[in-house]
Symmetry: C2
Subunit: 330 residues, 2 copies
């Protein structure tokens, strides 16, 4: 559940330096996203949304709730819904339905101030897709609402093409963190043909350059060195912040810059990676599967195992983590 | 010759997009280092320095010329001389003398407007050192003097510890680019214990954070995706620019910030990498040697083979490249 990748920086580390080292932390430059956010004083949120949208039952209610992105303003919602729709329609025949239990597709904490949707669809046996994963999280904090949206797609070891990873963290209406990348599935130093095919020739760094030109956009440094190692050299890992009250400017940035770039990167990934037909031999498949598994396990270890209990309580966290682990390791 | 890593961005690519892709390019943000610098109109430089410092003969003349860094102002010179002195005194018993031909230890172009010193000392057979390489380049351009200083140290495949890489590009008295890193010698995704030992536990990213706090310092993006892939997640790859005429502020940044950080990183590298006593087995040595060789070959291919001919003419470039290739591939 890629949402968890950046959760940690909204919460003070619970204990030792080892957890703070593993979590995303902002750079030492003033970071508008860095707010102390103690979890002990949630404000109550509106419970009627749960009832309207199908409570905890399974089936289409959860899917609708996921693709509705109910807590987002139009530019964010439009972007995420368009990306999910594109992935599902292009990969449609490759994907099995989401079979997560209803209480993992949607879950919340006891006081209903933290809610999340999780949507995972595995690829059919003969497809190049391992699974796609979408999620959103909405959390009422004393400082305001925190929304985290993610969409990622993992390919099977039958191909060595890069995965797709997108995560958007909206910690206030005037600030966001964006992670958008095609994480490589091989050591790029040893495999320069791979670097050339997927990153150099398609000039993926032009998207980085476009975003860097926006005055409100700055690089974002994760304190997790593992996460920095996983992303490609063309990864967009940025934060954007507009002046207090300039919500419309942030929405303009999302609508006119972030959304078009995300759609282009996804289109490239679909055409060249998911449908790229790069078959690999049996020996290499084992290496790919090993490396893929390291990454998936680390995502769980680094952030979800730390943050889900804080946000949703241990019982909910155990339930969700158990199911994610099954999908990741199957 | 690590100097060449960043040479390209001072010169327009000579031909196709493939060369521009391979070279360092600034980000699209206004970059004070980006100056058109045609090589056809060098201003003459002072030839008496050559005579004073021993012309093209071999022996101690070249070594003195190298460690003197004759074209640098005090803060740069002090920093580079201290780093070279530390490396040579700490690794002394491991190192053979520099055996480069005198006309490779020091070379210049026909009009004497581009000059360079190269100093390579290989490690003795039983040492963990492959070789150390120091260099400086001074080039009179119509826009002013360009100075590039480098110091790097490559370890032998008997250890898997990271290498040391430092490069400073001074394109004017008020601007510099710094690359300072311990490039890993393994895929950090697959080897998270390695990431932990050399980067996470020593908190190497604290140096990045220190530099980021300086208002004049910005991230620097290499257009070479290979070079971005080679460095560690704690690499310092930054540019600094002070206002026009504020030379003393730039010198203050070098003296008070860059120099202390470089000394600390080098001290860590010496203690934990060069003297870290991490022995590796025969099988792994072959993998390390293979990966090391890819990196060394790429350094030559990416930049030196393109830039040395432009700066020094084909004859000088061939001579120097031939010798470097021998050292890198031996």
């Amino acid at each position: 559940m890629a949402m968890a990748v950046t959760l940690a920086h909204f919460f003070p580390p619970s204990s030792s330096s080892s957890s703070s080292r593993l979590c995303f932390l902002p750079s030492l430059r003033p970071n508008p996203l860095r707010k102390p956010a103690p979890l002990c004083c949630f404000s109550p949120a509106s419970p009627q949304m749960d009832r309207q949208q199908g409570g905890g039952e399974g089936g289409t209610g959860e899917r609708k709730r996921f693709v509705d992105f109910p807590y987002l303003s139009a530019p964010y919602k439009d972007m995420m819904a368009a990306l999910v729709s594109t992935v599902e329609s292009r990969l449609g025949s490759y994907l099995l339905p989401c079979t997560l239990p209803p209480d993992v597709q949607y879950f919340h904490n006891q006081s209903n101030t933290a809610r999340a949707c999780l949507h995972i669809r595995s690829g059919i046996e003969s497809s190049p897709i391992d699974f796609i994963l979408g999620s959103w999280l909405h959390c009422e904090l004393p400082s305001g609402a925190l929304n985290i949206m993610s969409l990622s797609a993992y390919l099977a070891p039958s191909t060595d093409a890069p995965n797709f990873l997108m995560e958007v963290v909206q910690s206030s209406p005037t600030s966001l963190v964006l992670i958008l990348d095609l994480p490589p599935r091989k050591d790029l130093v040893l495999h320069s043909d791979y670097l050339q095919s997927f990153y150099e020739e398609p000039q993926l760094d032009r998207h980085q350059q476009l975003l860097e030109q926006i005055p409100e956009v700055q690089p974002y440094y994760s304190s997790s060195l593992f996460l920095r190692s996983v992303v490609s050299p063309t990864a967009m890992v940025v934060r954007a912040a507009t002046e207090a009250g300039r919500v419309e400017r942030m929405e303009e940035i999302v609508r006119d810059h972030v959304s078009p770039v995300a759609k282009q990167v996804l289109a490239f990934w679909l055409d060249q990676c998911a449908f790229g037909e790069r078959e690999v031999g049996e020996n290499e498949r084992a290496d790919l599967a090993k490396r893929d598994l390291v990454i998936k396990k680390k995502y769980i270890e680094i952030d979800m195992a730390t943050n889900l209990p804080r946000l949703f309580g241990q019982e909910v966290a155990d339930r969700v983590l158990g199911v994610i682990q099954e999908v990741f390791e199957s």
